[in-house]
Amino acid sequence: MQEGVSVWQFMAQQSGQLIRQTWTHLGLTLISLILAILIAVPLGVFISRRKRFAGLVLGFAGILQTIPSIALLGVMIPFLGIGPKPAIIALFLYALLPIVRNTYTGITEVDAAVKDAAKGMGMSKWQILTKVEFPLAFPVLMAGIRTATVINVGVATLAAYIAAGGLGEFIFGGIALNNSNMILAGAIPAALLAILLDVLLSVAQKFSLKRVRLVYVFLPFCILLLCSFYLLPSRIGGRMLAGFTPEFMGREDGYLGLKKVYGLNMETVVISDAMKYKAAFEGKLDVIDGYSTDGRLKAFDLVTLIDDKFIFPPYYAAPVVRQDILQRYPLLEGILNRLSGLISDQEMTSLNYRVDKLHESPEKVAHDFLTSKKLLQSDKSGPSGVIRIGSKVFGEQYILAQMYKMLIESGSNLTVETKTGLGGTKICFDALNNKQIDFYPEYTGTGFLVLLKPSKLLIFRLTKDKNAVYTYVQKEFSEKYNLKWLKPIGFNNSYALMMRRGQAQKLSIKSISDLTNHLKQN
C-alpha cells in the first residue's frame, strides 16, 4: 500500500489482524492434526495387524493427498458450507497419510525377535502394543506427525479461500493487491509457525514412552483439541453474512470504503473469488463482492446493488488506440466507435455467461451479437493493412477482441491479427507502447488507478463522477503516451456488491444504502 513502509512496520500496524489470523491458523492446524492423530494412529495399528487392508488404506489415503487443495475445499462447500468446518476436514484428510503410513511402518519395523520375546514372556496384546510397539515405533510415528504438521501449516493458508481465516488472508490479499509487505506479513508468521511446531515436536520425539501410560499421552491431546476451538473465529449467528475476496478487503475502493462512506457494519469473512458465487447461491453468504458484468451473476441468479454513494470507481470499457494508427487508417476510429454505447451491463453479463459458463466460443458469441444488432454489413473500402488487437486473458476481453476483429474486417480492407492472452494490464499496456499491438479494450478504472497511479485525493474527487474519470484518463493518456481512449462501449465492469435476487427482492434492497439501513434496523 504505502511506499517505503517496511514489512515490520506493516506488521506492527496490522498487529491486531496478524494476531487474530495467526491464532486462527494455529487453531485450524492443531484441530485437524489432532483429529488426524486420533484417527490415523489406531488405523495404522489396525493395518499393521491386518496386513491385507494395508494396501487399501494407504492407497486411499495417498489418493486423498493428490487431490488439489482448492478442489478438495470446493467439493466440500455443498456439504459443509464455508468456514472452519470444511477447512478442518480438508486439512484432516491431508494429514492422514503421513501419520497412518508412519504408524504402520514404525510398528511393522519393530524387531520381530523383540515382539516374539514379549509375547513369549506372557505380555498381553495391549501390553505389547503400549509397552513395546508404540515406544519403539514412536520416533517414526513422530516423524509422520511432523510431516503432517508442516503440510498442514502450509495448506491452512488456503483456508482463507473458504472464509475460514488464517494467515492466507494476508498472503492472498497481498498477492491480489500486489503488496509484498502484506504477502510477507502472512508468509513469515506461517513459516515461523511451521518451524516452531516442528521444533516442539522434534523435542517430543526424543521423549521415551516406555513408562508413560497411554492416558497421559492422549489426555494432553484432547485438552489441546478443546482449547484449539477457542482459536477459531466465533460462529456467525442468524445475521446476514458477507464474504469478500482478500483483495476487496484491503482496498479503499472496497471494504475499507464501504465502512467509511456507507458505515456498513456487518459480519464479514474472507473467501476466494472462485468460491464466493457458489457460496452466495447456496445461501452460505448473503452479500459478496464481484464485477458487475461477471457471467456468474447470471449463472447464480445474483443482482448487483446500486453504489449510490459512488465509492467504486467506474470501469467503463473502451478501446485504447495508438494515435499513429488512427492517423494512418482514418476510417478505423469510426469502425471501432460503432460499438460505443451499445452494450449494457446486463447484455455484457449475458455474453460473458455464454462464454464462461456455457463454454460457447467467443467468436460465435461475438458474431451472434453483432448480427442481432445488424452491424455486419459488408462494406469493403479504404486501404489494406494489418491491425493487431490485444486482449487480456478472460472471457469478456476475448469477446470484445472478436467483435472488433469482425467489425474491422467486414467494414474495411484491413485484416486483423488478434493477440489474445496478454496476461494482465501491464503486459497489454507495454505491448501497446512498444508498438507490438495497435489497440486493446481497457477499463477506465484500471487506466486510472493502475496505470496512472493517482493520489488518494484525486481518487476521492474523481470517483464520485462517472464521466470525470474518463475525461481524466483520456487527457492523461493522450499527453503522456500518445494513446487515444475512444468512446466507451457502454457497460461499467466495476466492483459491486451482490445479493441473491430472491433475498434482495424480499428485503427490498436495491442499493448499498438500503443494505446498510436494513442492517441497522435489525
Binding site: D111, A113, V114, G120, M121, G122, K210
Partner: protein
Amino acid sequence: MIKAEKLSKSYNGIPAVHQLSFEVARGENLILLGTSGCGKTTTLRMINRLIEPDQGTVYLDGKDIREGEPETLRRKIGYVLQNHGLFPHYTVAENVEIVPRLLKWNTKQVQARTEELFGKLGLDLSLLKKHPAALSGGQQQRVGLARALMADPPVLLMDEPFGALDSITRIGIRKEFLELDELQKKTIIMVTHDIQEAFEMGDRICLMDKGRIMQLGSPEQLLFEPANDFVKEFLKQQHLHLELKVLKVRGRSAWNMMDELGSEALRNLLNDYKS
C-alpha cells in the same frame, strides 16, 4: 512333566511338523536336534502356545495347555531366543523385571532376585543401568537367560540360545550353563543344530528331519544304537569326537577332562581305563 501327543502343523499345506510325540521328565534336558528347517522351532513354540498346532495336544503336568489363557501359561515358562530379544528401549534392569512385574511382585522381591541371579550368572550389577546395545554378545545372552529365569519357572524353552555367539564365547557359556544350579532342577527343552552342543547338554536328544522324529534317546543310544541310516549318516562325521564326549570316566566326560588336563594326561587316563 511335559507330554506332546501327535503334534502336527503345516504351512500352506506343507507339513512343518508331522505327528510328533515325546515326553520330558521333570528336571530332564531334552534337545531338539536337526538341520535348519526341520521343524524344531515350530515344535518348541507349540509348547508355549506361540503357535497353535493343527492337530495334537501338549500336556503340562497332565493338564492340556489349552485350558487356560496363553499369557498365564507363558509366564510360567521361561523362553530364551537366539537373538536374545531384549527390549532395546529398556535398561537391563527393566528387561529382567518384565515377568516379575507381570506377576505383580513387589520391588524388594524383584531386587533380591535380580541380585541373586546376576551373582550366579557372573553378571556385574553395574550392567543393570545400561541398555542392551551397550552389552557384549555374551552378556546379552546371559541377561536373556536371567530374564527367563527371574520368576523361577519350572520349565525353560531355549531356541538356539548360543546361536548368535562366536565359537569361543559359545563354549564358555555352555559350560557355565551346565554348571548353573538354577538349571539343574529345571525341565528344559532346547533347540540346536549343533551336534556337539546337543551331546554335551542333553540328557536325551530328539533328532528330527522334515518334521518327523528320526530317533529319540540318550546320546549313547544315538551313537551306538542308531535307529536308521539317517541317524548314522547324521553323526558319522563327528563320531570319534562324540564318542569321547559320551565316554564317561568315573562319571565325567573324557572330552572335558582332556580339555582340563591336556592330551598327555588323557592318554594316561585312557590307558588306565583300558587296563
